[in-house]
Symmetry: C2
Subunit: 353 residues, 2 copies
């Protein structure tokens, strides 16, 4: 029933080590031998036993994906992107949802790494931003890749000694640029009083998006007003609350557009507007951020910044693999900075007079 490397070796008339070489695509195997072995592999339908490889090898054929993020769409995209690369490389994926509020989190991650002898880790925000996690991974000496909000400027310069400053293992999403772009879109529509309903303050993405928004205002001679910024979380409920707070007293601030920290916030704002009988986009424009499927399922559909999460995570995995194995993959194919692009739908329109 189950075929082992020895069966293949016998069938092909070579040693088991040669079979091992072939399936691991090691160099220095003659073309002819390679073909013979592959033939045997096919004929016997041989599947290398993961456990055995993991045990015998220096590191296992598995990587981990760690996340602390309640956004289902985001997570699924992350998983799928990483999985597709894993499949390509013949690796397994160990997923690890966790919660920053859990005091054992750090220990748990360490345990997981140790038990499964993971070859590497992909960290998504906001975990990827936490110093103590990074510190721990460095202490453990494990390879990892971080998904971050920001830009990968001056890579040479950034090769700092401390982990937080070493940026050659990061994939960036340029939220700053995207927020700038989307704010500009609103400005171009004639909006002058644009509010921003932020996500969690601790997330780097919030800071970045806020900065991009500010810069866009500034570059267009619009004054930044602190009262137009609502600090919340990346959730629908926060969007509802945010919109209510921003538009209080019959919109005394004269807001004509709200930039949502993400699609959920925007959807919440949409919901609140509905409650307050505000027509979108005639009386108020609302934009989201991320372009999750969600943004196409609201009324009206959301203008947002498209973020190709599964592509991003696939590249994160690519980068990770380029660091673990003898970098079989070409680092050059790896994109390390992604900039979401504005997708215009029906939730934004010309500013009312």
């Amino acid at each position: 029933m189950k075929v082992t490397i020895n069966d293949v070796a016998k069938h092909a008339g070579v040693s088991m080590k040669t079979v091992s070489r072939v399936i691991n695509k090691e160099p220095s195997v003659r073309k002819k031998t390679y073909d013979i072995v592959m033939q045997a592999v096919k004929e016997l339908n041989y599947q290398p036993n993961t456990a055995a490889r993991n045990l015998a090898g220096t590191s296992s054929f598995a990587i981990g994906l760690v996340y602390d993020n309640p956004n289902a769409y985001y997570i699924i995209d992350m998983q799928n992107g990483v999985l597709s690369r894993c499949k390509e490389e013949g690796y397994e994926l160990v997923i690890h949802p966790c919660s920053a509020s859990d005091p054992d989190m750090q220990q748990e991650i360490a345990t997981m790494i140790q038990r499964s002898r993971l070859a590497g880790l992909v960290l998504t925000p906001p975990l990827s931003e936490q110093k103590h996690i990074i510190q721990m991974l460095d202490d453990l000496g494990i390879t990892y890749v971080r998904l971050l909000s920001g830009q990968n400027n001056d890579p040479e310069k950034e090769q700092g000694s401390t982990a937080e400053h070493r940026h050659n293992n990061c994939i960036y999403v340029d939220d700053y640029a995207a927020a700038y772009e989307i704010t500009e879109h609103l400005i171009n529509l004639g909006h002058k009083t644009i509010a921003f309903a932020c996500g969690d303050a601790e997330h780097k993405s919030t800071t970045e998006r806020l900065a991009g928004y500010k810069q866009a205002l500034d570059d267009n001679q619009l004054e930044f007003n602190d009262a137009l910024v609502y600090g919340g979380t990346y959730s629908f409920e926060s969007g509802v609350e945010g919109a209510k707070a921003l538009l209080k007293n019959n919109n005394e601030s004269g807001i004509t557009a709200i930039l949502g920290g993400n699609d959920e916030i925007a959807a919440g704002a949409l919901f609140a507007s509905r409650l307050m009988n505000i027509a979108i986009p005639e009386q108020l424009s609302i934009s989201g951020f991320e372009d999750s499927p969600f943004s196409r399922q609201t009324w009206p559909k959301l203008t947002t910044a498209h973020q190709a999460n599964s592509v991003i995570s696939e590249h994160a995995a690519r980068l990770l693999f380029s660091k673990t194995r003898g970098s079989r993959s070409h680092d050059k194919d790896i994109i390390t900075t992604f900039t979401p692009s504005v997708v215009i739908r029906e939730s934004t329109g010309p500013a009312p007079k």
Copy 2:
């Protein structure tokens, strides 16, 4: 740095086999010995190496979760439920998204099982309903649990010989009852012309929900009308199309309520109503099914049938473990049939006169 079972054995002054017994909670270890070993485990912070256990043991300490379902919320819940049980049991989870349209799917699943020597598999619909998959798993002799739509009636009677008829490895969601309940809710609100926007026809859940709907109509002396059933898919877009089709020609059929096959369909119907300037719930009631977070983020919020996906999947994992290991867990704690319960929100209301 890394602690092995031998280190623990030495530290505790016992043989490595005894340590193995302790960490596997095997019987016939004296309390005193057990304590000594556990003490050593703690002191050294020993983590058993998964790969080694998998290799040496009869089956590996990992189970698989296979799904072909585009619904992110659903998948995340499934994963989390199964994961929580895995954590409890010290197992790993191998996730495997796949697509029925992929001709290699079956082979891929077989490969995964073989490579990772999975101890078992949890199958979610619609994969869990496909005969050829079940057949294959049986041929492979692997343990699995299926999540199905239906009821677990007459368990004794059902112990048929063919896999499709063996139902002691299934967890049921009673969509029939839930659909009945939700339809009745609409009827009680005075609705007499209730449409049903179905999900994918091949899904058992569609058949079940439809049957429950029909029965409720019947029990309340309302005639079933084929023209009021729209056959679509479990997607937002389908909900939009479905509502448009059902309400065509200025709602010539006089529909006052639409039962959505799931929340996404309902959200789509909501969207379409908006397009057609139909007020919800004043002119038309719409209900969803599943109670995904989604149903709380539409306007108005959806009346729906709450389905505790993460609990369901946790029980699926429970059931699986009860079959794989020496059934350490008590089968009696396992619920095998779940009935979603109606959650009333704002998308349904009294029928218009």
